[in-house]
């Protein structure tokens, strides 16, 4: 290596005092490739090297490798600094040519790897320092594989450390001897991840993809730490604006004044029967399979149909995992095991299994609440996912998942009074393929579902659907000033068997029907840069044993971008929902209900980390199916006590909901916080033209939530939730029916009472202990810190002489441990 000077200052030049042999790129050395790299660098007045860049890179395919090696070597050089005319040392900028000559390459003295402690992921671009005899300094930087090397170190004891903002690392002390290559792996812990490194996964909250007017997107990484959710990513959607609180927190989705049965959950575009286990304690899909969770409260794309309310889309991860990993999580409710491994370079397999033991934990609590022998549910679920990347850039994945829940009420003698069982088993294949500028996506899902209910030996109810779903969609993203397209078909079908033979819930209701629901949709997006117009058209049909129905739903959404930080969004469209098979069998004349949805709002990026989203919405619901409120229903029912419409099903109901949602968000490297508010009013008109409030009308809902990361792997969070109570119709008097020996309640003025407002404060603490090869996390999720007795449902004493409110859970110190490898 022959240093050469290019003069940049006069009259006194810097002179090399100590040259450090560069680490010859291994591949280049093996091929005997030589090179010269000219660097431009600042020599400080102290003689140390300041900022340096490659001025003239080496030629050939090893250009980058030579450049990196030259920069790393020059940083450890020592110079006699330049001097001005008075003889004082002054900083100077010089160009320095570093020649790589294969025959003169210094032998590797030590090599190693930097890995992140806990995850064992190789860390790229991390500075490694070696300090040797007489304070000799060498500096290296880890490459993309986390590997670093020092060459030509003088013999002696060397102290090697990793230095980078936000990292704590152990030091390695090595004895270097000529002719030997020492190896060492350094583990660095991200104790202050908000400093320096930006390769952590960033949670994106509130970004939306065209053509959705309002899409609230949640990434899973940090949301796992939000308070009140027990680490469940999907439960976080219940904190978003537009989502009302369901009674007893059982996880029903109440969106913009629509009923729980009016909203739907999708996984990668295909509908799934349930997402939450009983009582909403956990979701049936492990959040580690997910890339993001989106809530579409209304005015969504023509991609979605067959429901009046909102959509929650769970999107599984598209990219392969960057490493093999596994964890075992044990908490108050459940144990979860997760394993993920790459298979070759382009495939991966993930497996998760979960089993609850909440029955053992909560039953003593429920006994204390005097709920008459209610036994907490037990559940389990499992998922297996295999994914592979195709050479074309496409991906193919298969997801097999299932869930099983049981819930019982026992009498004093521990005999079962009634029991409820819900389960499903699904297989899903998803294939996404780029075709030119287009992307083609195909999804297929199929599998059985079962819901059974029993009281004693004489009462039985079940629903046993076998549902298949198929979606094939072509997408073209609009370029600037161009037109984008979304064209697809969304076909569902299967067989649906049911029996409802439960005393006190009407006559025996039984059926078995085969059905097909074809659908086609087309949605161009006209994008002129600042203005985006997305008209859409969706055709839905339903062919079943009891009726054949069809509907065409036109929709349109617009977006106007005003500058870099503000956009206005609006949407208008029709959304239709077919009657259930059970309803159609009872009245084959039923047709679909529809919602005319309108929304308008804005997204404002106030500052770098602050944003505000405001949306006003209005829903006109027409042809709502009313009647048979006395019939048994598994998951959807009006509040249990109140006047009920027991007549035949008819499309005679009307509804209206209007409201304003807002979400103020703060998202920094250390903090996730938001303030979500919903102001709304939801009404219904029954078949007789009588107006009433929607059963879940909650005029004001507020959720304030913050999670903040502290040094040393601590994280604190808190959540405050407030919600107006649901309206209800109080019992005014009662009549004892001598023949049936039951009390008949006499209700007062409809909706003349409202449950007391719901308040809950939660707090969460997380602490990670990071070891070389694994990480241990402890969390304490204190739910309902103030132990407030929130009234969830108004029940009555057996003779209706007094209200007997059912309250929510008391303070629950949910805690858990998670060990991850």
């Amino acid at each position: 290596m022959v240093p050469a000077f290019a003069f940049a200052a006069e009259p006194t030049l810097p002179v090399v005092q100590e040259a450090v042999p560069p680490v010859y790129p291994v591949d280049a050395l093996a091929l005997g490739v030589e090179a010269t790299v000219v660097l431009e660098l600042e020599v400080e007045a102290t003689g140390r090297v300041g900022p340096a860049v490659v001025f003239t890179p080496a030629e050939g395919k090893f250009s980058d490798a030579f450049g990196t090696a030259a920069l790393q070597a020059i940083r450890a050089y020592r110079f006699e600094p330049a001097h001005d005319a008075s003889g004082a040392p002054v900083p100077s900028t010089i160009r320095y040519a570093l020649r790589f000559v294969a025959t003169q390459a210094a032998a590797i003295s030590v090599e190693g790897m930097v890995r992140e402690a806990g995850t064992r992921v190789p860390m790229a671009g991390v500075e490694v320092r070696a300090v040797g005899p007489r304070q000799a300094l060498r500096i290296a930087e880890s490459d993309a594989s986390g590997i670093w090397r020092f060459a030509g170190l003088p013999d002696g004891e060397w102290n090697i450390t990793v230095t980078a903002p936000g990292l704590d690392t152990e030091a390695a002390v090595l004895t270097i001897a000529t002719g030997r290559v020492a190896t060492v792996t350094l583990y660095a812990e991200r104790t202050r991840p908000w400093e320096g490194h930006t390769d952590l996964e960033i949670v994106v909250i509130g970004t939306r993809a065209a053509p959705e007017v309002t899409e609230r997107v949640l990434g899973p990484t940090e949301l796992r730490y939000l308070p009140g959710t027990n680490g469940d990513v999907i439960k976080v959607i219940q904190n978003l604006p537009g989502v009302a609180r369901s009674p007893l927190g059982i996880g029903q989705l109440l969106v913009r004044g629509t009923s729980p049965e009016d909203s739907a959950y999708f996984i990668d575009g295909t509908r799934v029967p349930i997402v939450f286990h009983f009582a909403g304690l956990a979701t049936v899909v492990n959040g580690d399979f997910l890339q993001e969770v989106s809530l579409l409260p209304g005015n969504y794309s023509a991609r979605y149909g067959r429901q009046l309310g909102g959509v929650v889309e769970l999107r599984t991860r598209e990219s392969l995992p960057d490493r093999d990993r596994a964890y075992l999580a044990i908490d108050l409710y459940q144990t979860t095991a997760f394993v993920e491994s790459k298979i070759g370079k382009h495939s991966a397999i993930s497996l998760s299994a979960r089993r609850s033991y909440i029955d053992a934990i909560l039953n003593p609590v429920l006994d204390g609440l005097d709920l008459g022998g209610v036994q907490a549910p037990r559940y389990y679920d499992g998922q297996l996912r295999i994914q592979t990347e195709r050479p074309s850039g496409g991906t193919v994945s298969g997801l097999f998942f299932g869930s099983d829940d049981s819930f019982r009420v026992l009498d004093d003698g521990e005999a079962e009074l009634f029991g409820l069982h819900v389960g499903f088993l699904k297989g899903q294949i998803n294939w996404s393929e780029p075709v030119g500028r287009w992307t083609a996506e195909t999804s297929l899902i199929s599998g059985p579902e079962v819901q059974t209910f029993a009281i004693g030996v004489d009462n039985e109810a079940y629903e046993k659907p076998w549902t298949c779903g198929f979606r094939h969609e072509w997408r073209l993203a609009p370029g600037y000033g161009g037109i984008g397209w979304r064209v697809g078909t969304d076909v569902a079908g299967g067989r649906y068997r049911w029996l409802f033979d439960v005393e006190g819930f009407g006559d025996v209701d039984q059926g078995d029907t085969a059905w097909t629901a074809p659908s086609f949709y087309v949605e161009p997006t006209l994008d002129s840069g600042a203005f985006e117009l997305t008209p859409g058209l969706r055709f839905d049909g339903l062919l079943s044993d009891d009726n054949d129905l069809s509907t065409i739903d036109p929709r349109v959404s617009v977006r106007l971008v005003l500058g870099d930080s503000l956009s206005l969004d609006g949407g208008f469209g029709k959304y239709s929902q077919f009657p259930t098979f059970r309803q159609s069998k009872e009245n084959p004349a039923l047709v679909q209900a529809d919602a005319i949805q309108t929304s308008i709002g804005f997204d404002w990026q106030i500052r770098t980390h602050w944003s505000l989203e405001v949306t006003a919405f209005e829903n006109h619901l027409r042809g709502l199916i009313v009647g048979r409120e006395d019939a048994f229903a598994f998951f959807t029912s009006p509040p249990p006590f109140g006047p009920v419409d027991t007549a035949s099903y008819r499309n005679d109901g009307l509804g209206h909901a209007v409201g304003l949602e807002s979400m103020l968000k703060l998202h920094t490297e250390r903090t996730v916080a938001w303030l979500a508010t919903t102001v709304q009013r939801a009404d219904r008109i029954d078949r007789f033209g009588h107006p009433s409030l929607f059963a879940y009308d909650q005029p004001f809902i507020l959720t304030a939530l913050v999670s903040h990361q502290l040094p040393r792997q601590w994280r604190l969070g808190s959540r405050v939730r407030y919600g107006s109570g649901n309206p209800y119709t109080p019992v005014q008097n009662r009549v004892w029916d001598l023949d049936s020996r039951t009390w008949i309640p006499i209700y007062g003025t409809p909706d003349s009472a409202r449950l007391s407002a719901y308040w809950q404060i939660d707090a969460r603490f997380d602490k990670d202990w990071v070891y070389r090869l694994w990480k241990l996390t402890f969390y304490l999720d204190l739910q309902n810190v103030t132990n407030r007795q929130n009234v969830e449902v108004i029940a009555y004493t057996t003779d209706y002489s007094a209200e007997s409110p059912i309250t929510g859970l008391p303070i629950i110190p949910a805690f858990g441990l998670r060990a991850e490898w």
Partner: protein, 264 residues
């Protein structure tokens, strides 16, 4: 599911554990429970008044064909009655039902309502006594009427009986009480005593029973064929307890037994 959950927890019962702590119409026994052409039905109400503050009783009928009570256009005296009550049992009321007017192919459902009110709570009963026709519209909507009543100090019950115009319809009778506990077995007992109560009844159908007491406790009845056995447990302090047993045959037929036990 929520409905099932909550309703499933609320099993029917007159009160909690058979305890009577307020004014309660225990039964209205209509004889015969299935009214056929030529029958002269009667109605007897049984009323428990644990507080012994006194009460007023109103009985009325409502034949509902879907558009309110047929009786609303008729004089009050034909479909209302305010009988006196002694020892928990009212005077028989013989509603002037014209069974011959019912077509042979028609069976009417007649609701007999019984309302007991603490003194001064229900001025409507006084209006009935005075044959004030203005109260007729109110009584012709029994559930709407109930909505205007206070829950405290009132007890409203409904008995459903059928009236058929077909003479070929099989007769239905109230359960016949063939054997009741001897007065010596329960009339004077010691505090905390356990008193077996034995009944023998006969009826065409299976019967069910409920036991109630104004003090002490009474266990659920056990049927062995037509024999019914209940157990009354006297309170731990001296008192005078009313013991009630109501029998239903599931087809409108009913029977009532009342006994008074002095606890010493």
């Amino acid at each position: 599911m929520i409905a099932a959950f909550v309703h499933g927890c609320a099993l029917p019962s007159l009160g909690g554990g058979g305890e009577l702590d307020g004014l309660q119409v225990m039964s209205v026994v209509v004889d015969p429970p299935l009214i056929r052409p030529g029958d002269l039905p009667s109605a007897v109400a049984w009323v428990a008044d644990p507080t012994e503050e006194g009460f007023e009783l109103l009985l009325w009928t409502c034949t509902d064909l879907g558009q309110g009570c047929l009786e609303s256009g008729f004089p009050l005296a034909q479909w209302t009655n305010t009988p006196l009550v002694a020892d928990g049992r009212s005077e028989p009321w013989l509603p002037p039902l014209d069974t011959a007017a019912i077509p042979p192919d028609l069976t009417l459902t007649i609701n007999v309502f019984g309302l007991a009110c603490a003194p001064g709570v229900c001025p409507e009963i006084g209006l009935v006594r005075e044959h004030d026709s203005t109260v007729g519209d109110l009584l012709a909507d029994p559930f709407g009427f109930a909505r205007t009543l206070p829950m405290e100090g009132t007890s409203l019950v409904r008995r459903e009986v059928a009236a058929t115009g077909s003479p070929a319809t099989l007769e239905n009778r109230n359960p016949q009480v063939d054997e009741t506990p001897t007065a010596a077995s329960y009339s004077h007992v010691r505090t905390g005593a356990i008193v077996p109560l034995h009944f023998r009844l006969s009826d065409e159908t299976d019967m069910t029973s409920n036991g109630f007491a104004t003090c002490g406790t009474i266990a659920d009845g056990i049927w062995t064929g037509h024999d019914l056995d209940l157990t009354f447990t006297a309170p731990d302090a001296p008192a005078s307890c009313e013991i009630w047993v109501t029998i239903e045959d599931g087809t409108g037929g009913s029977a009532v037994w009342r006994g008074v036990s002095v606890i010493q």
